[in-house]
Structures are given as structure tokens and as C-alpha cells.
């Protein structure tokens, strides 16, 4: 196996109040230089997993158990102060909405410089210089002009580039990107993804990319974890997951993506009936069983995690070799 992973999350649980358990025992690892994609539909707990990893859960959310290790350091028993020293310095985060992720009251340059001055002993001028350099690196043509502008003077694509540049101010080792391209149009989306991949090669960045877009996953992921109702239902290297999806939910997801050339005009696209159930503490069995075409009585009991191949796990009672042509 690889040495120590950059980020190791094991059995992470988050609940909101007494009724809702949003994350139910999620485990995942991100290695240096690797992109780990976390996929799932809205409300399955992707973002909460990311926020819990950064220690940024909102009021009312409780992380009840789990192991969080970052670069050999246990994050669970760090104080808030020690955590905020890591955040922005060694682990950074990019948010989904570029239109609202920048403070409207200050210029781009001032916000970027602030991040660096918070963690490093640099002068304002030095921080500004680095900000300008990074803006140039993310493909902004006139960095000096942009540094002095306010967020409302920039387009969505530009703002997301600024967010990426801002996240890279202190050369982090881990980047958590929560749907960084969802709010952008497709061409800009491709540019942003290329940019992230470029920085990954250059800096050995570990990226945890949260998305519900399987097209994005296919393009950038090294490893994919599929989340459903607060659980990781399948996790595998990207090529294996696309070649050999094993969990009924994963197959259902892949069947709902239109592939040019493969899908005949007029034929129906696959879909998964029903919606994600609301799951409280004490829920037993498979969260997908009400929507699954292969559900049986065994699905209400504890579900074992099975191996479908080397480094490929899935959480279902079906055998790994169940008929491939039948989607959920």
C-alpha cells in the first residue's frame, strides 16, 4: 500500500439534532497528487462530509464519531485555534457559488492578500505580488487591474478563478472543492477543471472534488466514491468504477447519463424512481432498498461491505457478478 494518505476519513458520522443523520459512517482517503471524487445526488451528505472534514459544520450539526487524519495529524482533537491555523494554509476549500463566495465589501487583491498575511509573515506588498502572480497563473489576463476590482465587477467564471487562486495563496497540500464548476457554463467548466489538474501536477495537490456531474468525474477523477443517503455505497479507482459498476445505485446513475453515440435518438434515458429517504439515527439496512429493483428481505438487515476487485468496494448484498445488463 501507499505510505500514509494525505487525508484519511474513517467512519465519519454527522447528525443534525436528534432526527436527521446526514452522514453515516463515511470512510475515504485522499493521497498526495490524487483527485478523489465524491459523487451523489443533492442531499446525500457530500457537502456535509466536506465541511466536517474542514471542521466547519454549522450550528446544530454534531460530528458524533469518526477518525479524521490529515498529513499524520489527528484533526479530531485539535482546538478551534489550531484548526484555523491549518485552514487556508495547508488545507483549502473552494465553494460552489462563485457569485457569493467573495466578500462584496473589499477588493479582490485585499481579500487574497489577507489570506496569506493570516498564515505567513509577509508584507502586504509581498502578498499582493503573490496574489497577482496566482491570478496570472489561473489565466486572468490583466491581474494588476483585477486586484483592485470588487467582486461585483467580475463574471462568474472570473470569480471562480479568483477563488481558486485564493485557495492556492499558501500552497496547500489538500484542496477540497465543493462543486466548483456547477454554477458555471460548460466551456468555463472545462477551463476550470484543466486548471485544477494543472496545479495538481505542479504542486502534488491532493484534491477532494465533490460533484454530482458524472461528466466531470470521468474527466478528472483518479478515484471515485459514490454516496447515497449519507453512506459511501461504492468506492473504486475511476476506470474500474466506470467499467464495472457494481452497486445498483451506481449503475442507475451511470444509466441516466446520456452518452453521445450510444443512446439512440428517441430512446428513453434511464432514471431512478423515487427520492432519497430521510434517514434518522437507528436506521438499519440499505438506504436504497425502497428504490432498488433488486431489493429483498436481506436488504433490511445490516449490509456488509464487499470487494468487487482489488481496491474496489461496494455496500450491497448482491454478488459482484450480478447481471450487468440490468440497471436498477
Amino acid at each position: 500500500m501507499t505510505p500514509e494518505p494525505l487525508l484519511e476519513v474513517a467512519d465519519l458520522r454527522v447528525r443534525f439534532g436528534a432526527r436527521v443523520e446526514a452522514v453515516r459512517g463515511v470512510s475515504l482517503t485522499v493521497n498526495k497528487g490524487e483527485t478523489h471524487c465524491l459523487v451523489g445526488e443533492s442531499g446525500c451528505g457530500k457537502s456535509v462530509t466536506a465541511l466536517a472534514t474542514m471542521g466547519l459544520l454549522a450550528r446544530g450539526a454534531v460530528r458524533s464519531s469518526g477518525r479524521l487524519r490529515f498529513a499524520g495529524q489527528d484533526l479530531t482533537n485539535l482546538s478551534e485555534r489550531e484548526l484555523s491555523k491549518l485552514r487556508g494554509d495547508r488545507m483549502a476549500m473552494i465553494f460552489q457559488e462563485p457569485m457569493t463566495s467573495l466578500n462584496p465589501a473589499f477588493t479582490i487583491g485585499s481579500q487574497m492578500a489577507e489570506v496569506m498575511q493570516r498564515h505567513r509573515k509577509v508584507t502586504r506588498a509581498e502578498a499582493m505580488e503573490r496574489a497577482g502572480f496566482l491570478l496570472f497563473k489561473v489565466g486572468i489576463t490583466n491581474p494588476a487591474l483585477r486586484l483592485g476590482q470588487f467582486p461585483h465587477q467580475l463574471s462568474g467564471g472570473l470569480r471562480q478563478r479568483v477563488m481558486i487562486a485564493m485557495a492556492l495563496m499558501c500552497e496547500p497540500e489538500l484542496l477540497i472543492a465543493d462543486e466548483p464548476t456547477t454554477a458555471l457554463d460548460v466551456t468555463v467548466q472545462a477551463q476550470i477543471l484543466r486548471l485544477l489538474a494543472g496545479f495538481q501536477r505542479e504542486l502534488g495537490l491532493g484534491i477532494l472534488l465533490i460533484t454530482h456531474d458524472l461528466g466531470v468525474v470521468a474527466r478528472v477523477a483518479h478515484r471515485v466514491s459514490v454516496m447515497y443517503a449519507g453512506e459511501v455505497v461504492e468506492s473504486a479507482p475511476a476506470s474500474q468504477l466506470f467499467a464495472n459498476p457494481t452497486h445498483p445505485y451506481t449503475r442507475g446513475l451511470l444509466a441516466s447519463v446520456p452518452v453521445p453515440g450510444k443512446i439512440a435518438r428517441g430512446s428513453r434515458l434511464g432514471s431512478i424512481p423515487g427520492t432519497v429517504p430521510r434517514i434518522g439515527p437507528g436506521f438499519a439496512g440499505c438506504g436504497f432498498r425502497d428504490r432498488c429493483g433488486h431489493a429483498s428481505e436481506a436488504c433490511a438487515g445490516p449490509i456488509a461491505v464487499q470487494q468487487a476487485g482489488p481496491d474496489h468496494i461496494y455496500r450491497c448484498q448482491l454478488q459482484a457478478s450480478w447481471p450487468q445488463d440490468q440497471a436498477a
Binding site: 466547519l56 485552514r87 487556508g88 483549502a92 465553494f95 493570516r118
Partner: protein, 276 residues
């Protein structure tokens, strides 16, 4: 140019010119506002019969130049308005931001304090305070400043609650910002435009309350030329010399109207600037 902008400009004009007049009062007044002249009492203003050259707005019951007193009165009104707003703004904003940001128990305490404040009758407290410590300029400022913060607190609290859930606050946390930084740099600048509007309304209210307190004899003590005090002193003469009560009354009305128009204008303008 639409009507709203016209009104806002009018407000700016009124408040601006009053401020300039107040600042340069010593150079603008034709006479000493405290100088009495018992031979020349109750001279009429220039548009009435019985006017005396040199006294544009006539004189009061002690023969003091009414225009000079009016100008110095503007000084007192604006000074009290500004000081009260600074004092109450500091109290209300801190309470509101803390309650809105931290929520939970802290917010419950803040809400309780606001509710308690709302249960306190302003004029009665002012009466009590004045009867204990006597009336003076400082007492008026402190009484009003320590009592008029509840609107600041309510507005700061609700707007903080809206802003604190926005992505850029989370982004700041994700880049390692301290709570202080978030309160001062992420929250406060982005709720300031709401607070500015509250400040204008509170300023108008403070000026009116000072006039009311002075009218009741609980505000600025004589012989300081407060507009409320001028109205109060003039009420004995209003049947024979109605201008003595009209002039400071109109001045008070115009200034308060101007501040309110300016406040409305600022709200429109700041709102539009942020939505752009």
C-alpha cells in the same frame, strides 16, 4: 431625474447646509445669542411690521437676536443627534451583531435585553434621571444615547443572521479567519448600509426627543439656545407674537424632514449600489 432622487437631494441640501451653518455659527451670527437687550424685546421678523434693522428674525422675550439663537440651536440639535447616534449605534450594533452571529444562548440574552429596553418608557426615565442629577447637555446625550439603541440592535441582529450564512463567511472560515476577523471584516462592512439608514432615522428621533425634553424643561438648560427650549419659552407669547414659536418650530420640522429624506435616499442609493 425622478421624484425620489429629487427628495433625496433636497434632504442632502437641508442637512448639508444646516451642518455648515452649525459648524461656522460664530462667523455667521450677526449678534451674540446670549446678549440680552430688554429695551428691544419681541421685535418682529423682517416680513412683519415693527421689525428692527439688524434683527432679521426679530428678538425674543429678553431681546436676544432670534436668528443668532436659531443658528446656535442648530449646533445643539446636530451635536446631540450625532453624539446620541454614535453612542446608541455602538451599543446596539455590538449587541445585535453578537446575538445574530453566535445565536443560541447569547442571542437569547440579547433578545431579552432588547425586550427589556422596549419596556422602558423613554420620557419617564429621562424625567427620573433629570430629577436625580439635574439637567445638562451631557445628561441629555447620555440618557438618549443609552436608551435609543434598540433599533440598531434589531436591525444589526437580523442582517447579521442573513450575512452569516452566506458563502463568503464560510469561505473566510475555510481560509482560517478568526471570529474577530469575521465579525469586523466580513459581517460589519456588509451590514453597514442598513445601519447607516437606521442612524439617520435615530438621529432625527434624537433631535425631536431632545426638543421634547427641552420643551418639558428636562433637556438642555437655559440659556443655551436649544430649539425645543426656544419653543417652550415662546409658548407664553404665542398669542401676540406667533413668530417666536413658529420660527424654531419650522426649523425643527425642516431639519428632521431633511434627515429623513436623506435617510430614504441613502437606503435607495446604497441598495442600488449593492445590487449593481
Amino acid at each position: 431625474m425622478n421624484l425620489r432622487r429629487l427628495f433625496a437631494l433636497l434632504g442632502l441640501l437641508i442637512v448639508g447646509s444646516t451642518a455648515i451653518i452649525a459648524v461656522f455659527a460664530p462667523y455667521l451670527t450677526p449678534h451674540d445669542p446670549f446678549l440680552q437687550n430688554l429695551d428691544g424685546r419681541m421685535a418682529a421678523p423682517f416680513w412683519l411690521e415693527g421689525t428692527v434693522p439688524g434683527h432679521l428674525f426679530g428678538t425674543d422675550q429678553l431681546g436676544r437676536d432670534y436668528l443668532s439663537r436659531l443658528i446656535y440651536g442648530a449646533r445643539i440639535s446636530l451635536l446631540i443627534g450625532t453624539l446620541v447616534v454614535i453612542c446608541s449605534g455602538l451599543i446596539g450594533t455590538s449587541l445585535g451583531v453578537l446575538g445574530g452571529y453566535f445565536g443560541g444562548r447569547i442571542d437569547a440574552v440579547v433578545m431579552f435585553v432588547i425586550t427589556c429596553r422596549l419596556a422602558i418608557p423613554l420620557i419617564l426615565v429621562a424625567l427620573t434621571v433629570v430629577s436625580f442629577v439635574g439637567s445638562s447637555f451631557t445628561v441629555v446625550v447620555l440618557t438618549l444615547g443609552l436608551l435609543l439603541w434598540e433599533r440598531f440592535a434589531v436591525v444589526a441582529r437580523t442582517t447579521t443572521m442573513q450575512v452569516r450564512n452566506l458563502d463568503y463567511v464560510a469561505a473566510a472560515q475555510a481560509s482560517g479567519a478568526s471570529t474577530w476577523h469575521i465579525l469586523l471584516r466580513e459581517i460589519l462592512p456588509n451590514i453597514a448600509h442598513h445601519l447607516v439608514v437606521v442612524a439617520t432615522l435615530e438621529m432625527a428621533l434624537a433631535i425631536l426627543l431632545e426638543a421634547a425634553l427641552s420643551f418639558l424643561g428636562l433637556g438642555v438648560p437655559s440659556p443655551l439656545p436649544s430649539w425645543g427650549l426656544m419653543i417652550s419659552e415662546a409658548k407664553d407669547y404665542m398669542y401676540f407674537s406667533p413668530w417666536v414659536i413658529m420660527i424654531p418650530g419650522v426649523a425643527l420640522f425642516v431639519l428632521v424632514l431633511g434627515i429623513n429624506l436623506l435617510g430614504d435616499g441613502l437606503r435607495d442609493w446604497l441598495g442600488a449600489a449593492r445590487d449593481a
